[in-house]
């Protein structure tokens, strides 16, 4: 039985997993790239070993090196986190072949769910409904796809066979747009996954993206921990998740939960996983895919169920029986997660890099922050732009939204632009508050423009602040010219100003 865990990841999720290990009394081994020597996951680990240069292919994707480090350091198991090697069945297999534990599903389950066509065929055979499309048909050429498209009907989606996270995905509204979109989808898929194959899928309009967290132990017990609402997305990237879903009712939850467990059982699933569904207005639901790993958004489920999913993962990997049956699972209160990304919500969400000059996280009752960064750390262009996850819990959805509002307002991150203002606008949006949104809401019906009624007063305040800063800048500049030298305080001011001007 292992007592030392290597975490094959970086950022907030590596820190999250190490915290769970430490709280179970286990030792932790970090691996890191040259860009991450002083990253939080390295600082907090009991041991840390260099993988290679910053680029992921030279570091966090080097499965061979990671296994070698695990063996050398005496780690008995590897937790892959999400992304990087988490859904690579060959890596999971190599870990097992090396005599190490893989804290995740069996390689066969990763493989089955990783190939969308196989996944679709497998769950269909188990009686799980899927979205109409060509995924079961194997890798088709453009001509075939163009032939089959009208039968599925428009709008439809082009999706990458090896895909995930919105890469290589395109929406098609008519047959004549399709050839160009096929080309760009294949190009992006090829670049992202080394596999340009794509398939078609009916686009469910007004669809909600709802997923079920499941846990499965090695004794064959499978339970679900309820659903997460993940419809708030931009370019198929989730931005905000909540549990439970405001659309859910108990009857539908029981039905979908049973189907989710059935889908997991269809691939003899082990450990934590997520079944993603699309749900239409009439409560029809379709299997979308299974994520055979820990999800970014797992904390919302933790807060409403009281179950520490990462600790359960480790217990399951140690061969323990699940401590809960389905009847033990009760949802208490409401949780929302905002993904705080280094990106500019006022400039098309372009990523932002730089050193974090200052970080003041929100705190207090009902607030959880999962992060891998700190003031002084640099957000580099090598990895994704997730700075932290801000998760709030409240007795009701209303209380949670109010709490999230105050937490977002408290959060100060300086040095890079962040999407905190985006989340603040979401929390103020009447449609979000009413729970009436679907997967298209952010892109099609949401705007960062401030409603007129409250704009006036804030604009006056902002004008005062802008003027006072401009005034100070002018005064300081004038003093420098007059005195012909820079004293300390002027120097400070100017250097700060210059820094900001960069």
């Amino acid at each position: 039985m292992f007592n030392k865990v290597l975490v094959a990841n970086r950022g907030e999720i590596a820190v999250r997993i190490m915290r769970a290990c430490r709280e179970l009394g286990m030792n932790t081994v970090a691996v890191y790239s040259e860009a991450d020597r002083t990253a939080l996951h390295v600082r907090q680990a009991d041991e840390a070993y260099l993988l290679g240069p910053a680029a992921a292919r030279d570091s966090y994707l080097r499965g061979d090196k990671i296994i070698e480090i695990a063996q050398r350091s005496g780690a008995g198991a590897i937790h892959p986190g999400y992304g990087f090697l988490a859904e690579r069945d060959d890596f999971a297999q190599a870990v097992e072949d090396a005599g190490l534990g893989f804290i995740g599903p069996r390689p066969s389950a990763i493989a089955a769910m990783g190939d969308k066509a196989v996944a679709r065929a497998t769950v269909t055979a188990a009686g799980v409904p899927v979205v109409p499309g060509t995924e079961g048909e194997g890798d088709l050429r453009d001509e075939d796809l163009l032939d089959l498209a009208p039968a599925i009907g428009f709008p439809l989606l082009i999706k990458a066979t090896a895909g995930g996270g919105g890469k290589g995905m395109r929406e098609v509204r008519s047959l004549e747009d399709m050839p160009a979109l096929l080309e760009s989808a294949r190009r992006e898929a090829e670049a992202a996954f080394g596999d340009g194959n794509v398939y078609l899928e009916k686009l469910i309009e007004g669809a909600r993206h709802i997923e079920f967290q499941i846990l499965a132990d090695s004794q064959g017990n499978v339970i679900h921990l309820g659903e997460r609402e993940c419809s708030l997305q931009r370019r198929h990237q989730k931005l905000l998740e909540e549990a439970p879903s405001p659309f859910m009712n108990e009857e539908l939850r029981v039905k979908m939960g049973e189907v989710a467990c059935k889908a997991a059982q269809a691939v003899d699933y082990l450990n934590a996983g997520t079944i993603e569904f699309l749900v239409d207005k009439d409560e029809n639901f379709y299997f979308l895919e299974m994520n055979t790993r820990l999800q970014v958004e797992h904390p919302v489920t933790e807060l409403v169920t009281g179950i520490d999913i990462v600790k359960e993962q480790i217990r399951i990997a140690r061969g323990r029986k699940l401590r809960y049956t389905q009847d033990d699972i009760h949802l208490n209160g409401w949780a929302i997660e905002c993904r705080i990304n280094a990106e500019d919500p006022y400039a098309n969400f372009v990523p932002s890099t730089g050193v974090l000059n200052s970080v003041i996280p929100p705190s207090g009752p009902g607030v959880r922050v999962d992060t891998g960064v700190y003031a002084g750390f640099e957000i580099s262009p090598y990895y994704d732009s997730l700075i932290s996850k801000l998760i709030c819990w409240g007795e009701t959805r209303g209380e949670t939204i109010l709490r999230m509002r105050r937490a977002l307002e408290e959060y100060r991150i300086l040095g890079v632009k962040t999407n905190i203002p985006f989340h603040q606008n979401i929390m103020d949006s009447h449609r979000f508050i009413a729970g009436s949104f679907d997967t298209r809401f952010v892109e099609e019906r949401f705007s960062m423009d401030t409603p007129e009624d409250e704009k006036e007063h804030l604009m006056t305040i902002a004008a005062v602040m802008a003027t006072l800063v401009a005034h100070r800048q002018g005064q300081q500049a004038a003093q420098i010219v007059r005195r012909g030298k820079r004293d300390t305080s002027n120097w400070k001011w100017v250097s700060r100003w210059e820094r900001m001007n960069r």
């Binding site: 990523p351 977002l408 203002p421 602040m465 802008a466 006072l468 001007n501």
Partner: protein
């Protein structure tokens, strides 16, 4: 000292008086304004109301991020305003515009050609960075006069990618 702060189609006349007082659009208010921890975070008490904002310089003038709203102000004193009014304010629409890389990355595609006429909002460059494909769009109508990069190039932050006239 009297300033005019403008954003979109609105402008505010703000005069800095003695004793921490301001005249805002004709009304005298008490202001206590301080920066926090040597960072571009400012706390303002205006007649007792407490506000905090991030205030940054921008191309326009001064950007204020206040309670999740961004305002991009031009702030001028009276002299500057008169100067600008005499030369005319349409300079932004004419002259050269240089598209710079907002972050380091890889040029995926350049979907325009030199000499091509484009409209405001058209894609000029697709730049891959931080695992995302980012569309760099035209800020105004114009003609692509020079392209300095090609697909596959690695570019640094602030590197000029393309010139628009």
């Amino acid at each position: 000292m009297k300033y005019i702060a403008s954003v979109d189609d609105q402008s505010f006349e703000i005069e800095i008086l003695q004793n921490n007082q301001l005249m805002v659009d004709g009304e005298v208010v008490q202001a206590d304004f301080q920066s926090v921890s040597d960072q571009p975070v400012y706390t303002l008490l205006l007649n007792g109301e407490s506000f905090e904002a991030l205030v940054y310089p921008s191309e326009q003038g001064v950007q204020v991020l206040l309670r999740g709203r961004l305002f991009d102000f031009t702030v001028e004193d009276e002299r500057q305003r008169r100067l600008r009014q005499s030369t005319g304010g349409a300079a932004m629409q004419s002259g050269e515009y240089q598209l710079r890389a907002p972050m380091p990355g890889l040029i995926v595609v350049v979907p325009v050609k030199e000499g091509q006429e484009i409209k405001s909002g058209d894609d000029l460059i697709i730049l891959e960075s931080m695992k995302m494909q980012n569309e760099l769009k035209a800020p105004r109508d114009g003609t692509v006069s020079r392209i300095r990069v090609k697909s596959g190039d690695n570019v640094d932050q602030n590197q000029v990618l393309l010139t628009l006239t």
